[in-house]
Subunit: 492 residues, 2 copies
Amino acid sequence: MSKNLTTREEDYSKWYNELVVKADLAENSGVKGCMVIKPYGYAIWEKMQAELDRMFKETGHQNAYFPLFVPKSMFEAEEKNAEGFAKECAIVTHYRLKNDPDKPGKLMVDPNAKLEEELIVRPTSEAIIWSTYKKWIQSHRDLPLLINQWANVVRWEMRTRLFLRTAEFLWQEGHTAHATRSEAIEESEKMMNVYADFAENFMGIPVIKGLKTETERFAGAEETYCIEALMQDGKALQAGTSHFLGQNFAKAFDVKFANHEGKLEHVWGTSWGVSTRLMGALVMTHSDDNGLVLPPNLAPIQVVIVPIYKSDEEFAAVSEAAQTLVSQFRKLRVSVKFDDRTTQKPGFKFAEWELKGVPVRIAIGPKDLENGTFEVARRDTLTKEVVQKDGIVTYVNDLLETIQQSLFNKALDYRNSHITKVENFDEFKDVLENKGGFISAHWDGTPETEEKIKEMTKATIRCIALDRVAESGVCVLTGKPSEGRVLFAKAY
Amino acid sequence: MSKNLTTREEDYSKWYNELVVKADLAENSGVKGCMVIKPYGYAIWEKMQAELDRMFKETGHQNAYFPLFVPKSMFEAEEKNAEGFAKECAIVTHYRLKNDPDKPGKLMVDPNAKLEEELIVRPTSEAIIWSTYKKWIQSHRDLPLLINQWANVVRWEMRTRLFLRTAEFLWQEGHTAHATRSEAIEESEKMMNVYADFAENFMGIPVIKGLKTETERFAGAEETYCIEALMQDGKALQAGTSHFLGQNFAKAFDVKFANHEGKLEHVWGTSWGVSTRLMGALVMTHSDDNGLVLPPNLAPIQVVIVPIYKSDEEFAAVSEAAQTLVSQFRKLRVSVKFDDRTTQKPGFKFAEWELKGVPVRIAIGPKDLENGTFEVARRDTLTKEVVQKDGIVTYVNDLLETIQQSLFNKALDYRNSHITKVENFDEFKDVLENKGGFISAHWDGTPETEEKIKEMTKATIRCIALDRVAESGVCVLTGKPSEGRVLFAKAY
């Protein structure tokens, strides 16, 4: 198959958009701003879900499901949260269509079916969940309450991009309630660490753990922890957030518990989420001009076997060898596909599986059968080697682990070489324009300066890294004193 | 714990409502008609999902995800489908809230943020999916297209009941496209059979497979296959449907494929779904006046171990024995909980796990340790027996299978004894009022008679059973000729 993929060098943004569609991950739908996640893309998302769900359950969380709709009065109860999301809400106002008397065969909104109170399609579920927690929490014995939800949410975005920014997206949102401030902070940090572990060890994406500035904080949170990744074009991507909510939602929804002394106190909350946005991060971290590059942990097909043959006899012999491999791989729980389509040539198949990012390709032809060796190709390095037939399954199984690790290392090297310390604003602009990546710079700590830098350069403070060292210096913009560096970048 | 559960005899409907809430399955939310699925209920739903998902994938289906919203013009394209759902649609008309100038701290819908075209929150996804299939299908090589989606849907119901009828519910919806009529019919029947297999062998709910009458058919389908179950109060419940859509949606959305001769033809479609309604069927098929009775396949906790002790020493000895059992059960992948709460007495724990339907309870006290025997209680029969400690894990593991089978058999006996043949309308009314269940009766085949019977008795035709035998007779209401019996019942 011909891939005709724009190269990253030519136009990174176009490369991304084309790749997501051509590799069958997702496409735009007939509904403005909403995407269709195609089966191949959804299979990757399912693998992310399964691993995250396992990690959440191992850390004591249970799944539940809360309503899609939030009545307006409930939505506005936590004012900062409401204010933060009010400008991008889908609002249900009516509950019935009727035949349009002026246009036969057409329907219209029935004006007699107006809701007494408008319903907001959840942009996030704190309001509906905390209004429920009021019923669930009475005593310290009901705490901690550790709940997660897998759901769709809607934020009305005008400029959308597949996976990165869509009006509707899929995510998980954890919502927990605790007896003490320190327990809730511990939970927020724990879940940030779960996300970092998942991003690095499962997705092969190195991340920086940090705190958001006040400006970038979740609306209604006291503190937002985040993991920040770096894409190949030098732009940052927020890959997950975990919020310490303080008692904000407990106060807004009057959620109190009787402590050990029997006194009523407001509970402490957290919320945390990752979304289908991670699919975008996956694509932009590992893939190349030939198409997707998938870490073996996330590949719906980890190994593809392509037969090379000219005659029916050759096909039969090659198929037999392939089927033996298939059953051996399955025993090791390696996901394998034997591409036995007779309608396509090997070259077409090679290109297709390259485009779709299958980590390992094995080609088997009549000569290989004679020699007792098969050709093994790695998607990540685009290298080939000839491997002895005996033991090839174990060899490839080990290779999958090597690839997983190698992808992470490569991304880590890139990321580490793209954290640049700058000492003044000229350097700042120079690095931002000519190199990209994270810029480690002193900042005077004010939202005003943060805003000015954003206006001037489009760079935002991605985070205050948790592992930053205390270092006194002067703000790159204002020259005012600073106690430590923060990480700036242009971001998705 | 005190259960205070209304008995089925007293008020079946009240018993159901109370049980769903008290057993922590679900509760009403602050959003009219929408429910909160609580962790214990959601854990059961997750088990259903996992099994169904496995069955769908084994039959060649892939998961994908399509938008929550359907633009009005797309919604109305298939006229019958649109007409069928128009009266119960949640409609998004605006995309922004703003501060209400008259009410400080309150929000109002921003009249300047009116959508050009209204969006319907999907009540079902045929429209959005077939509008996508138009892009995905060109050639016979693209067929069959076998897709499933796990999603939430909204149907604006005025009278709602937890799980059985809620404005928002969770479900899966399969949508497939085929080259021929017969292939599509085969698919519809296959998925009906998958549902029946799942209901009977996984949920322990016997079902009758059949066809819906024209009146009861899915809006936009040529034929609706269904599985019908019978609840303990003699009312039927439609547990799943599978629709043969003919070329209706292909024509409405202009979905054509080039056949082997290169000629363009409209494709043939199916759709099929089951929902969180199955949770209601589960409760009403097996449970009793003491609470839930869960089939072992669906029980989040299959075995609970309750310690009996007076002193700390006794507790330590009993706990040790319990922990040994726990690890043995886990090896067999039996889901087990050791209820070591020191805040509750054994009697409270017994009642709580009974209410929550845990299939097997093991009690261990100091005397049991002396005797080398434990007390094993079955939730379904409420019987107890003393079992030798050695081999108890294998014994209980086998017992779980026995219980699974026994629940199905019990439900089957009840169902079979509640299919009553009647020959005239007096008998019909008598059986309906005094016995309930399915009434097997002759019907003249007209929607008018069906409607009249419904008006007079509230009974509807649940299905034309697939295994019915040809038998000429006369309609119970009109005396007109009939070629076979159909099954009537009052239904949920």
